[in-house]
């Protein structure tokens, strides 16, 4: 029972994290660290992405063909992997963002009901 509950929670978080990652790499190619920092920064330190979730998510998204990893040099001169959005990923992002807006709007409506 406990397991099943956790599974559901993870699904929810996972879907959201995917959306955040896709959005973050949609503007320019970024490496893992930069993605985590960017999400944290934009969300005003509310969303802190742990490596334990970030990297599996990145590799999963890459395997699904939404993002593409390219080996490159970071600003500190070290080799690391940069992720960018693929064309399919861009469409996927638009769809998911739309879904998210609808869902969060609906939740807001319910919560803010007076």
């Amino acid at each position: 029972m406990q397991n099943a509950g956790m599974g559901k929670a993870t699904d929810f978080v996972q879907g959201t994290l995917d959306l955040l990652i896709l959005k973050t790499v949609s503007l320019e190619p970024r490496h893992g660290w930069a993605i985590a920092k960017r999400i944290q920064q934009i969300s005003g330190d509310v969303l802190q992405v742990q490596q334990g979730s970030l990297y599996p998510a990145l590799y999963r998204l890459e395997r699904q063909g939404w993002i593409k990893g390219r080996w490159g040099e970071s600003d500190t001169g070290r080799q690391t992997k940069f992720y960018s959005l693929t064309a399919a990923g861009r469409k996927h992002l638009e769809r998911e963002a739309e879904n998210w807006k609808r869902l969060s709007g609906a939740i807001n409506l319910v919560i803010e009901e007076t």
């Binding site: 490596q51 334990g52 590799y59 395997r63 593409k68 080996w71 064309a87």
Partner: protein, 639 residues
């Protein structure tokens, strides 16, 4: 589409550059860690502190790496190997179960595939000819349902050709000729077809060409051309491809060899095919083979042809049996009549065998699943996921099913040859091409594999999420299955008993049929009797015929003086309206001989000649259809 390609590329890259991918992942994670340390340092921590804090926030790096690499590494393959090894160990631990299941499947698959392949090759699709399902003979049935194929004169054939139901027709005849002009004379069976015969049958020549209507124009003597059968070509010319265009001498007449037919073309089992010369007279008749128009049923053709044949009957008084019935029958008809019931019964029996095999495996798998209830509970309790247990069971079932199917395949390939070798020689068309039928093979293997998977997974679906505590607490490792499981089990056992009874009944009916066949009164006693066919030459002079007669009398006396032999009798076996008109005489001799002596009689067969000696009743216990003198005279008269 592009995305699918990209996905495949990424997956393959990771699969085949496993080490490089792992190195890169490590570098990537290390880069992240360093940035974290740098950030911590910037916030005023000491180097040591910064490092520890970063490591803490990073969590368990090994688990993280495994989590990532599992997806794109060979892990799934390693798991599969592990599953296979485990499954093999499990099966080896219960050899009785494994061998019963595998043998049940193998027998069912092998027998069903073999018998169906034979039915398909011998009865459903034996002919290489174009539109074989529309090629027919007209049969006239007398009151006792005996049929014969009436011969038609050239004029009657032309009348028949006008019928709407008929697309085309071919006149057939045949004779036994002698190859002359070479060192040793050799008897050949010659089939004669009207010029359109090969176009009618629609099988292209393997070498050279076949003859066409322009080689045998209406009302003229046909060109002296022949087409060789594959067998004769191999036997007489050793398969020499340069024979095309050469001549062969038959009965002192030269024929131009036009071509060689493919091995499956064995029409009339002839050695040589030559154009038929249709003589325009009232007495020369030819067997006629029809091809119905597309979409015309046999009944419709019968309705249209009946008045024509009535007319033909009037033209030749006493030719047709009184009150005959006309039937248009496909060339497969007699074979289906003769061999069909036996083969279909056999097929029913082996299909039941397959059903029983599948039933066996289902019950065994189900029972085994229940017995292993405890094992699954334990594995589940120590952390095996439901999908992992399902995969494990699937592997086991598949190993069973595939071993059974593999063995069945082997059995099928072996038994097709064995069964065909035991079929009576003339019970199927010699054109038939026997081989394992791929669609049936796939169907049978599919059935077996599906059954195994279905019933192999049944316990998995039931037990993949067992009430662990309940099972663990029960003292016995064998927990009775749920009520539903028991019901299914009972239903399966009942079904299997029913199938087995059905199989027994079918087998009983089959053996009774065979027994009846064995004890059918033949009208004579076939034991100790051998029959030696001697072809009669047709194109010979009267003087030669007299010489032949003298020779046969000598042959008869010679055989009669052999110890252990009663004097042989001769009888013509050709039916008056026989298909090819080849009329061999058969020499009957009581056989009480050693095989060596039998061989010396059999060698008489190579002397191609005919004999004149009236066959008397009795002597061999021949009581039915005795050959009367009248009959016999007809048979050796020139065609």
């Amino acid at each position: 589409m592009l995305r699918a390609f990209e996905k495949l590329r990424v997956w393959l890259w990771m699969l085949f550059h496993h080490r490089r991918a792992t190195e890169r992942l490590n570098a990537e994670l290390e880069f992240h860690l360093e940035r974290q340390i740098e950030e911590n340092l910037a916030s005023g921590m000491s180097r040591e502190e910064a490092k520890h804090a970063a490591m803490r926030s990073f969590g368990n790096a090994t688990v993280l790496r495994e989590q990532i690499t599992e997806e794109w590494s060979w892990t799934w393959f390693e798991n599969l190997l592990q599953d296979v090894r485990y499954a093999l160990r499990q099966l080896r631990k219960s050899p009785g179960f494994a061998s019963t299941a595998i043998l049940s499947l193998a027998l069912g698959i092998g027998a069903t595939v073999a018998v169906f392949s034979i039915i398909y090759a011998a009865l459903l699709n034996p002919w290489p000819y174009a539109g074989a399902d529309r090629i027919c003979f007209v049969n006239l049935l007398d009151k006792a349902e005996n049929y014969f194929v009436p011969g038609l004169t050239g004029r009657q054939m032309r009348v028949l050709q006008q019928a709407h139901a008929i697309e085309d027709l071919v006149g057939l005849d045949g004779s036994n000729l002698m190859v002359t002009g070479s060192d040793a004379p050799e008897g050949v069976e010659v089939a004669e077809l009207t010029g359109n015969g090969f176009q009618f049958l629609g099988v292209p020549a393997m070498l050279g060409r076949y003859f066409v209507p322009s080689d045998a124009p209406d009302g003229h003597d046909p060109q002296p051309v022949v087409v060789l059968s594959y067998k004769f070509w191999q036997r007489h010319y050793g398969g020499d491809p340069s024979v095309i265009g050469k001549t062969i001498q038959l009965q002192h007449k030269n024929y131009n060899i036009l071509g060689v037919l493919p091995p499956r073309f064995t029409w009339g089992d002839a050695d040589v095919y030559r154009p038929l010369r249709v003589l325009q007279s009232q007495t020369n008749r030819y067997t006629t083979m029809l091809k119905l128009r597309q979409g015309v049923s046999a009944a419709a053709a019968e309705a249209e042809l009946a008045p024509l044949y009535q007319q033909f009957d009037k033209e030749t008084p006493n030719g047709y049996p009184k009150g005959y019935k006309l039937r248009v029958r496909n060339i497969s008809y007699t074979y289906i009549q003769k061999l069909g019931p036996t083969l279909y019964l056999l097929f029913g029996a082996v299909a039941l065998l397959l059903a029983i095999g599948c039933g066996n495996v289902s019950i065994l798998l189900l029972a085994r699943g229940m017995a292993r209830h405890h094992e699954f509970a334990v594995r589940s309790a120590v952390g095996a996921s439901g999908s992992r247990i399902v995969r494990q069971l699937l592997t086991e079932s598949l190993i069973l099913a595939l071993s059974g199917a593999g063995l069945g395949l082997l059995l099928a390939y072996q038994s097709v040859g064995l069964i065909v070798a035991r079929l009576p020689e003339y019970s199927f068309p010699h054109e038939a091409d026997f081989h394992v039928n791929p669609p049936v093979l796939l169907f049978c293997i599919g059935t077996a594999v599906l059954t195994s998977i279905l019933f192999g997974l049944f316990p998995a679906l039931q037990f993949a999420r067992p009430e662990i505590s309940q099972v663990m607490q029960s003292s016995s490792p064998k927990v009775p299955g749920s009520a539903r499981g028991r019901q299914l089990h009972t239903a399966l056992i009942a079904g299997q008993i029913a199938l087995t009874l059905l199989l027994l009944t079918a087998a009983g009916a089959a053996s009774e049929g065979f027994l009846r066949l064995m004890h059918t009164p033949l009208g004579y006693d076939p034991s100790h009797v051998i029959s030696v066919g001697i072809p009669i030459l047709s194109d010979i002079t009267e003087a030669t015929r007299v010489k032949q007669a003298e020779y046969f009398e000598q042959l008869r006396q010679k055989v009669a003086t052999m110890p252990g032999c009663v004097p042989p009798r001769f009888r013509p076996t050709a039916r008056r309206h026989g298909v090819a008109g080849i009329c061999p005489l058969r020499l009957w001799a009581r056989r009480l001989l050693s095989s060596r002596r039998r061989a010396s009689i059999l060698s008489a067969r190579s002397i191609s000649a005919s004999c004149i000696s009236p066959l008397s009743r009795g002597g061999f216990g021949i009581t039915r259809r005795p050959c009367t003198e009248r009959h016999w005279r007809w048979s050796i008269s020139p065609l």
